[in-house]
């Protein structure tokens, strides 16, 4: 009989398991490597080369804006008690979880008469991407700061008062904030949406054009590989630097978490900062989306599109979420409390997360093109979208799993081993009920992120089975402004409901 004891013991099976899961997760991208021999340096000097430079410019500026706005805002939010903390933080995090094209459409619709071209393309892209990067850095800073114990804060307060507390929190959070800013920047490299809307040539947009407009798979594949190489160059230092830090941050601690300072003046400043972030990041683009809805008929006109795409949108979201959570939690279970494995795994998954999603999707397209008909249910169906999106967000699921498992007591499995509790019984009756809230949280979060990832759905969806964000992306150039705005608003309402759900589950779990 296998008891629960191996879950808390080292073993070679852990390394093998980790390698297997990483291989499985990366397998869709492998077919693309067949295009490597056809790659020449010219790919980096032509149109695609200048598009890549644009992408890098955007990424750099987004990282800087994300860090210099999100970090101080996160420090303030963590240090000071202020009214409406949860509502403001939830509202600020909304741009993280919806497709960037929605915000781009909102910004462009701010100018009446569709005068999109009046916004400088580069600036437009930076503003839209920063809308997501700022809350990412803010939330990471906030969570990192909340990892400090109450006694550490009390000691700082005794040593030097409020100023010393703010310095301590700032120093503690600066590295996670920098990693988050870097990750936010890398993610912009693979998102084609805003560049398409503002009329800028970016690396990701060029890949989409090569595949969807020029129907040149091998060109798209080669461009995707070049973009992957650039993303890896940026992401590898992040992975090497961030892996060990995040691994340490995931260790379970038995400490009282910090209590925010009660300073009315600074509470006011914090609220104002968050309100400004929400105003610029959410309210302004939102008002751009609301303005065309004035005639009142747009929502009715949008209804058939929503009805046609709702089923597939929910299917892709829930399928990707379930698949990623199952694989991610399995990975977390395999890694266990082995420190070295955790560091390696985090480094690898950070690097994997930085890869363009188009890489895996194009790999699936390549496989599907030559595969026999019996492989259709996997390679050319709705399941393909769920699988590739699940692989894409496996790193997020694995991190949630590691975090959650880290807070379980190692003695649970030991006492189960000592009493001869079979592994299956232990997993079913003890561990799974404990992990369930985190799994539910991760499932919702990944569902939202997967829905926001238009590229994968665009490249893989079977005919007539697009998602709502894809429908918005497809019709935005030709449909009336009011219809596009109505579709965006419906999607945003759906996303806001899920964000509220996520914050509620997260709040209960913390409680």
């Amino acid at each position: 009989m296998i008891t629960a004891l191996p879950l808390e013991q080292p073993g070679r099976w852990r390394t093998v398991g980790l390698m297997l899961i990483v291989l499985v997760a990366m397998s869709p991208a492998v077919p693309l490597l067949s295009q490597v021999p056809g790659m020449t340096p010219e790919i980096l000097t032509g149109t695609f080369g200048s598009a890549l430079i644009n992408s890098l410019k955007i990424a750099t500026m987004v990282a800087l804006v994300g860090l210099f706005v999100g970090w101080p805002a996160g420090v303030l939010a963590a240090c000071y008690e202020f009214c409406g903390r949860r509502v403001l933080l939830a509202a600020a995090s909304l741009p993280l979880l919806v497709p960037s094209i929605l915000w781009a459409i909102g910004w462009s619709a701010l100018l009446p008469g569709g005068r999109t071209m009046e916004i400088p393309p580069l600036a437009g892209c930076v503003v839209v991407f920063a809308t997501a990067a700022v809350p990412l850095v803010l939330i990471v800073t906030y969570l990192a700061a909340r990892g400090l114990s109450g006694s550490q804060i009390d000691a700082a307060r005794l040593a030097g008062g409020e100023r010393c507390v703010v310095q301590l929190v700032s120093r503690h959070a600066v590295v996670p904030a920098s990693i988050a800013a870097g990750l936010g920047a890398v993610m912009t490299l693979s998102d084609p949406g805003p560049a398409q809307i503002f009329g800028l040539r970016s690396g990701a947009a060029e890949i989409l054009i090569s595949f969807s407009a020029l129907y040149d798979f091998s060109l798209a594949a080669r461009q995707c590989l070049a973009l992957t190489a650039v993303a890896l160059v940026v992401a590898t230092p992040l992975a090497l630097f961030g892996g060990p830090r995040i691994a340490r941050g995931m260790l379970a601690r038995q400490v009282h978490s910090m209590h925010p300072l009660r300073e009315p003046a600074m509470a006011g400043v914090t609220s104002v900062v968050l309100v400004v972030i929400i105003l610029v990041g959410v309210i302004l683009p939102l008002s751009g989306l609301i303005r065309p809805l004035a005639d009142g008929q747009a929502l009715m006109r949008a209804w058939p599109v929503v009805r046609r795409t709702a089923g597939d949108t929910v299917l892709y979201a829930s399928g990707a979420g379930a698949f990623a959570i199952a694989l991610g939690f399995l990975l977390a279970l395999i890694i266990g409390r082995q420190e070295r494995l955790r560091v390696v795994a985090l480094g690898v998954i950070l690097a994997v997360f930085a890869l363009p999603p188009a890489m895996m999707a194009l790999g699936f397209v390549y496989l599907g093109a030559d595969a026999p008909a019996w492989a259709d249910p996997v390679l050319r169906s709705r399941l393909s979208v769920c699988l590739v999106s699940g692989f894409r967000f496996l790193p997020v699921a694995a991190m949630i799993g590691m975090w959650s498992l880290g807070s379980a007591s190692s003695s649970w499995a030991m006492v189960a081993g000592l009493h001869g509790v079979p592994m299956g019984t232990y997993l079913r009756r003890v561990l799974w009920p404990f992990l369930l809230p985190s799994a539910l949280l991760g499932w919702m979060l990944i569902g939202l992120l997967a829905t926001a990832d238009i590229g994968t759905v665009l490249l893989l969806h079977p005919p007539g089975a697009g998602s709502l964000p894809l429908a918005i992306f497809t019709v935005m150039a030709n449909a009336p402004e009011s219809l596009v705005a109505a579709l965006c608003m419906i999607y945003l309402a759906f996303a806001a409901l899920l964000v509220a759900g996520i914050w509620t589950v997260a709040g209960r779990q913390r409680g």
């Binding site: 420190e339 007591s409 030991m414 006492v415 009493h419 009756r429």
Partner: protein, 244 residues
């Protein structure tokens, strides 16, 4: 000649390259309650883990009643077949399960049928004085009551050895005294041997007749407690004697 009980023969255990136990040889005789003493980080909990089979030695052997049960890198006799139950420092109560289910699940390794197991679990809860809390989950009961649930779970398997790893840490004096008395009475009634890891002389004096004193993973003193206290060699026992 083989000993009735556990024998540690030149046992070495390393954690991340650091020795937690370094060539330790000692004996826990059946029927003689033994305290494992020493400063923090000297390897006391590791001794319990090695004896119970939760950890395997890097070198040396562990014997039970003369038979080798652990050898380097390998546990020959599974932990749940060694007749050992343990109350962990953090109690390790399974959080989503009621007190009764905690005890019932702890009986998974026995061959008892469902009805008999239920009967045994109820009996263990009654013996530990918490049958009325059977349906409560750990988060709904006090620290002392949680301690009793952990004790009931350990007792229900009718172990030959009960390992207690600082189980009374964080309890108030009254609860601690009550639990100590109850455990001593239970040990007499059910004839199991206690192996206690603690820093508290009062707990040692009220429960144990033998002691193993460790320093930095090596054996410092070992034998009958009263004899050791008469002429203590280690700083731990000297401090103990002053506090008694």
């Amino acid at each position: 000649m083989s000993v009735r009980g556990f024998e540690l023969c030149s046992v070495t255990v390393n954690y991340s390259g650091h020795p937690a136990l370094d060539g330790l040889s000692a004996v826990v005789c059946a029927g003689r309650h033994t305290a494992i003493l020493g400063p923090s980080g000297c390897g006391k909990t590791t001794v319990l883990r090695v004896l119970s089979g939760l950890a395997v030695p890097g070198a040396g052997q562990v014997r039970l009643n003369g038979k080798v049960v652990s050898r380097p890198g390998r546990s020959i006799l599974a932990p749940y077949r060694r007749g050992v139950a343990m109350v962990f420092q953090d109690l390790a109560l399974w959080p989503g399960l009621s007190a009764l289910d905690n005890v019932l699940l702890g009986l998974s390794g026995t061959d008892l049928r469902r009805g008999k197991a239920r009967e045994r679990a109820r009996e263990a809860l009654t013996v530990c004085g918490i049958n009325h809390l059977a349906d409560r989950v750990p988060a709904e009961i006090s620290g002392g009551q949680q301690q009793r649930v952990a004790l009931a779970r350990a007792m229900a398997v009718r172990p030959s050895y009960l390992f207690l790893d600082e189980p009374f840490a964080g309890l108030d004096l009254m609860t601690r005294a009550g639990l100590l008395g109850d455990i001593a009475a239970l040990a007499d009634r059910h004839a199991f041997t206690i192996v206690l890891v603690t820093h508290d002389p009062a707990e040692v004096m009220s429960l144990c007749s033998d002691a193993i004193v460790l320093e930095a993973g090596t054996l410092c003193e070992f034998g009958q407690l009263d004899r050791l206290l008469a002429d203590p060699v280690s700083a731990t026992l000297r401090a103990f004697r002053q506090r008694i």
